[in-house]
Symmetry: C2
Subunit: 338 residues, 2 copies
DNA sequence: TTGAAAGCGCTAACAG
DNA sequence: CTGTTAGCGCTTTCAA
């Protein structure tokens, strides 16, 4: 009974089936498949048989023999966040030509969920892990000691010797302050995210550049939860404090949406006259009439570089590189459509 | 030389290492790991050794023996599109408790790229494939004949006998028309996507319900490319035609953004007085002052159901189910924040 | 219960 | 240049 007789039963041809049908040895089939030197007529026969039997080599079996894996893991806090899907795109751009796929796990900033995904990555013996750690306690040592390349993106691991790719957030904050100074806007309210390194660096950068002369007068600093409602409520508090301000600086994109909404609700007459400077504001300017400047990261590039570092590590380069990408500032005029 | 001597060289303990260190056979280790009956003290010894050696069973090897795979494939036209990341979430919700992961491929509506991802899914012998086909020519027969469960989502495959989960787009169109009728808006311009089943069904549904009495007067139907610029240009053409209209119906979310932008640019004084009815408008109403009604699909639910159908197929249920989810309409008032 | 041993599908020596 | 064969790490008979 050959593979052809078992057709339709949910079976797949194996390399033995191909060998038998083509009248050669499995080694020859393997060689043809891997492009090694084989007599021309045998190559022909094998190729024909592969097609006829619909043979697809099992990567699972391949992985057992070779040490390389065509599967990578990407573990991010939230794959519904456009920032991370763009990172994924960047990684994909590196994988795709190498016939490699990425499985994506969303840790939802839950260390336990993240741990499970790391466990899976290890169990699958993936070819590489690209991760945005959910917290400072993320343990990558097991992955590393299994010899799996790791690249950390977007957030650094404190005193971890990993390849790290992130945005120079302090430079981003400075960029924001310089923009406001250039526009002669000197009375500014700030909305800052939770006390994590990212928010802190953005704020610090802003504060340091705000100390120009003449300096920016920071009338108020409010904290928010990096989500829409946090931005809304922070803006509410600022407005209720009756502080005078002629621009807002915010360290996160979702909070910016909440801020714009709050301005529209509470100060409708000034709604479009208060510039908002924030991070990764993307298409917001298109929809709101507000005057907006966006300090943009380049997640796609972050993903690409991460992918390239994985490849380098696979080739033996030790993971000792830390790359900080400079963000760029785009003001409304440059974003409008068309 | 044991595994402990080779530490730090990028090696992983195998089941043999555990067996040797625990002084039992590999069969016993396997049994402990799989929760079969084993003498209590041996269980203890094995457990302890597993921890000490940092042993993680290789899923690759497991997959070679068992037929089940803890890896599924999700192939979508664009994983940067929030609709599909939400589908992914839904699928993940089903996978996660079963320790299963999803690798995501973006076909970018390119049949060749899609074919490659399907090839990978086959080569990896995944446990299931959830796919939004890029075109009518998508070939799923090889996957199926390999015995891999397949669920088609969002777009149906013509005369394909696959489990299919999608939105009742015709009902969505009807919902839009009924909403406008209820608001007494009877002079409407339509912007419709490319001639694919989705756009067509949405338009047909709209047209059929528009034939109420008194009927909706459809002053113009423009086609667009389902992207932002397509919506913008379609709206431009409508405005330039000088047709009178007091509402817009649009079959796609990105085009809605373009439309709102065009209204703002070309009819600033009426910008917030022309209601726009579209699909999956999500947070757009938050940002634009426009009056908006959104006909919402439930991508998360689509993903969940797809995941469940995969499980059922794995358990032997034949794939013969086609589910059309009813969308729901939400008007601006209900979407505002907070 | 436990252990020995036969594969799962493939690659890579090693012989011929 | 081709074929035979020994594993990769695991599960699962089959005996003991």
């Amino acid at each position: 009974m050959t593979i052809l007789d078992r057709w339709g039963e949910g079976v797949t041809a194996t390399i033995y089936d191909v060998a038998r049908h083509a009248g050669v040895s499995v080694a020859t089939v393997s060689r043809v498949l891997n492009g090694l030197k084989v007599r021309e007529d045998l190559v022909e026969r094998v190729r024909e048989t592969v097609l006829r039997l619909n043979y697809t080599p099992s990567r699972t079996a391949q992985r057992m023999r070779k040490s390389t894996s065509h599967l990578w893991a990407l573990i991010v806090p939230d794959f519904e966040n456009a920032f991370f899907t763009r990172v994924a795109r960047g990684v994909e751009e590196i994988c795709q030509p190498r016939d490699t796929c990425v499985f994506i796990g969303s840790s939802d900033d839950d260390p336990e969920k993240e741990r499970r995904y790391l466990e899976v990555a290890l169990a699958e013996r993936v070819g590489g892990v690209v991760i945005t750690p959910s917290s400072d306690t993320t343990d990558l040592t097991r992955i590393v000691s299994a010899g799996i390349p790791v690249v950390v993106v977007d957030r650094a691991v404190p005193n971890g010797a990993y390849d790290t790719i992130l945005t120079d957030n302090m430079a981003g904050g400075r960029l924001g302050a310089e923009h406001l100074l250039g526009q002669n806007l000197r009375t500014v309210a700030c909305v800052v995210g939770p006390e994590n390194p990212t928010s802190q660096a953005r704020l610090e950068g802003f504060l340091s550049a705000a100390k120009a002369s003449p300096a920016i007068d920071i009338v108020r600093i409010e904290r928010g939860n990096n989500r829409l409602d946090g931005g809304y409520r922070a803006m509410q508090r600022i407005i209720q404090s009756e502080a005078r301000f002629d621009a807002v600086f915010v360290t996160n994109n979702l909070m910016a949406v909440g801020i714009i909404k709050a301005l529209g609700d509470m100060l409708p007459e000034r709604r479009n006259d208060i510039p908002v400077v924030g991070f990764d504001l993307d298409e917001i300017p298109l929809l709101s009439g507000a005057c907006i400047a966006s300090i943009n990261q380049d997640p796609h590039e972050i993903g690409r570089i991460a992918g390239e570092r994985i490849l380098l590590q696979q080739a033996g380069t030790p993971p000792v590189c830390s790359i900080a990408l400079r963000p760029t500032l785009v003001a409304t005029a440059g974003l409008g459509y068309p």
